[in-house]
Amino acid sequence: METAPWIARGADGPHLLGSRCTACGAVSFPPDRAHCRDPHCPGGDPVVAALPRRGRIWSFTDCRYPPPPPYVPPTDPFEPFVLVAVELDGPGPIVLGQAPPGTALSSLRIGAPAELVEGTAAGPEGRRFPVWQWRPLPDGGGDAQTAGGVR
């Protein structure tokens, strides 16, 4: 995998490409290719659709030990990284992503806003490829807790 899957640049910045069903509107990430996965769907085609580039943090963690292949640690020695699950606005799907390098775990809070940025990941033989990352945003306050807390 040499190129970034499912990232596109819109007027307001990078966002993910998922799919949206032409019949029932079901959204999927990564995009469904052949059929809508909603069993109640009357029968539509999944078409590529831009997903909201912001959302609320649903949960988060970090990775203190190097994951096994096919992960390729971008640094040697391995540096722990933060993994964030963000519920896209809409509400859209909850999507996993690394946080940009240097993000402190202590800067994250469930329910706080985050936005998609482009980063790079490492591949075999020193290659790099673009990948989406979740950057935490300054906390908007009030309803954030609720939005992230419901699911």
Partner: protein
């Protein structure tokens, strides 16, 4: 409808023995046959739980076990569903017996595990979510467990001390179990002092991977009675996929499903597959969570054990911490959970683990568990687990 009964169980001790998986499986199978008082020639269906880590024989585990035990022209099947493989192998056996297609089934699962994190197979497979989650995100299993654990802390007030207490409880049970790999007590303090793997989970919060093997001999209830066996009824069994949409990004997916537009943010959500499987198994068995004397739940992480308390109906959502803190889930408590020691004491031997859970429930219902970890007078137990890809299983056993 007649029921199916276990008349024999057998295990090869868990550990890191470094031998082919077939050796553990055949040892377990021989033990199960001996326990059943059955001869191998009586088995007319061999149901193998497959392993993807044992080369080609692992894929056709049913045939591999049948060959190692001595080919007799038996009907055979090999089932795979990651950690739910054992349950699917049991389900295949139960169906054949109930259908009258076979009269005695031998269910076997075994694993010879590599060290360290589970990793996907080699090759470049951008269509495989299990490959993608590693290549794109480095999202090894403990990270998924940690996301759920953090979520639990946020929603229900769990503390790392609670997670550690689960480990301490299970380690105390496992210390008395000769089949367990880790047979020593562990304090909550030791868990909290172990390195963080994925915040908030420590090394001792996350289960290891082990070698091991487990086997069952199953017959129809009337045959069990006729044989004068010491049977345990397999009263309910479910191995179902979830209902769409599934909000949580379940391992190994990169994302969950959003709610349906018409349902809004909170509406129309089906029970999670774990709850759904438990409900289906209870329903088949004609019992409910209030009838349970013990439960074996899949504690891939200590925090996940707390989720299970609620998902199998031991308490309402958010009640697990209270149940744990009250000591209700210790052996001696109101509803002991993982009296075997759980994955905390075994480490996971993927296709064997679901079968081992059933062995444990059977041992308890037969009053054969070691005294230190025995659930006295137990008559109803459940064993639940989950595979990758958001599917899992539940088995209810009664006496």
């Amino acid at each position: 409808m007649s029921d199916v009964c276990l008349i024999g169980t057998g295990m090869h001790p868990w550990g890191k023995w470094g031998r082919p998986f077939t050796e553990y499986g055949t040892a377990a199978a021989r033990a199960a046959l001996a326990d059943a008082g059955a001869d191998a020639s009586e088995v007319d269906f061999v149901s193998g739980a497959a392993t993807v880590r044992g080369g080609y024989p692992g894929f056709v585990a049913g045939a591999a076990f049948a060959r190692a035990l001595g080919w007799r022209g038996q009907q055979v099947a090999s089932s795979y569903a990651a950690c739910a493989s054992g349950a699917q192998a049991i389900a295949a056996a139960r169906a054949r017996l109930l259908a009258g297609l076979s009269d005695m089934a031998l269910v076997v699962g075994a694993e010879s595990a590599p060290k360290g994190f589970f990793a996907p197979l080699g090759g470049d497979r951008p269509d495989d979510p299990d490959w993608l989650r590693f290549r794109l995100l480095g999202a090894a299993n403990p990270l998924y467990f940690a996301l759920a654990a953090r979520r639990r802390m946020e929603l229900h007030g769990a503390r790392p001390e609670d997670f550690a207490a689960v480990k301490a409880k299970n380690a105390a049970h496992g210390a008395a179990n000769p089949m367990a790999r880790y047979r020593k007590r562990t304090t909550a303090g030791e868990v909290l002092a172990s390195p963080v793997v994925a915040d908030p989970l420590h090394l001792l919060d996350v289960c290891a991977t082990s070698d091991g093997g487990a086997a069952l001999v199953l017959v129809r209830e009337e045959d069990a009675r006729r044989r004068g066996a010491d049977p345990v009824r397999l009263a309910g069994l479910s191995a179902a996929v979830p209902e769409y949409p599934v909000a949580e990004p379940e391992m190994p997916y990169l994302a969950g499903d959003p709610p349906r537009a018409e349902d809004g943010d909170t509406g129309g959500r089906a029970p999670r597959f774990r709850e759904a499987n438990a409900r289906a198994a209870f329903e088949e068995a004609g019992v409910g969570p209030e009838d349970l004397d013990l439960a074996e739940v899949y504690d891939l992480s200590t925090a996940m054990e707390l989720d299970w308390y609620e998902e199998i109906g031991l308490c309402p959502r958010g009640g697990a911490e209270g149940l744990l803190r009250d000591g209700a889930t210790r052996v001696g408590g109101r509803i002991p959970v993982n009296p075997s020691g759980g994955l905390a004491s075994f480490g996971e031997a993927v296709p064997a683990q679901g079968i081992a859970q059933v062995c444990e429930v059977a041992a308890q219902l037969r009053g054969r568990a070691e005294p230190e970890r025995r659930v006295e007078g137990a008559r109803v137990g459940i064993a639940v687990n989950q595979g990758l890809f958001g599917h899992g299983s539940a088995a209810v056993l009664t006496r």
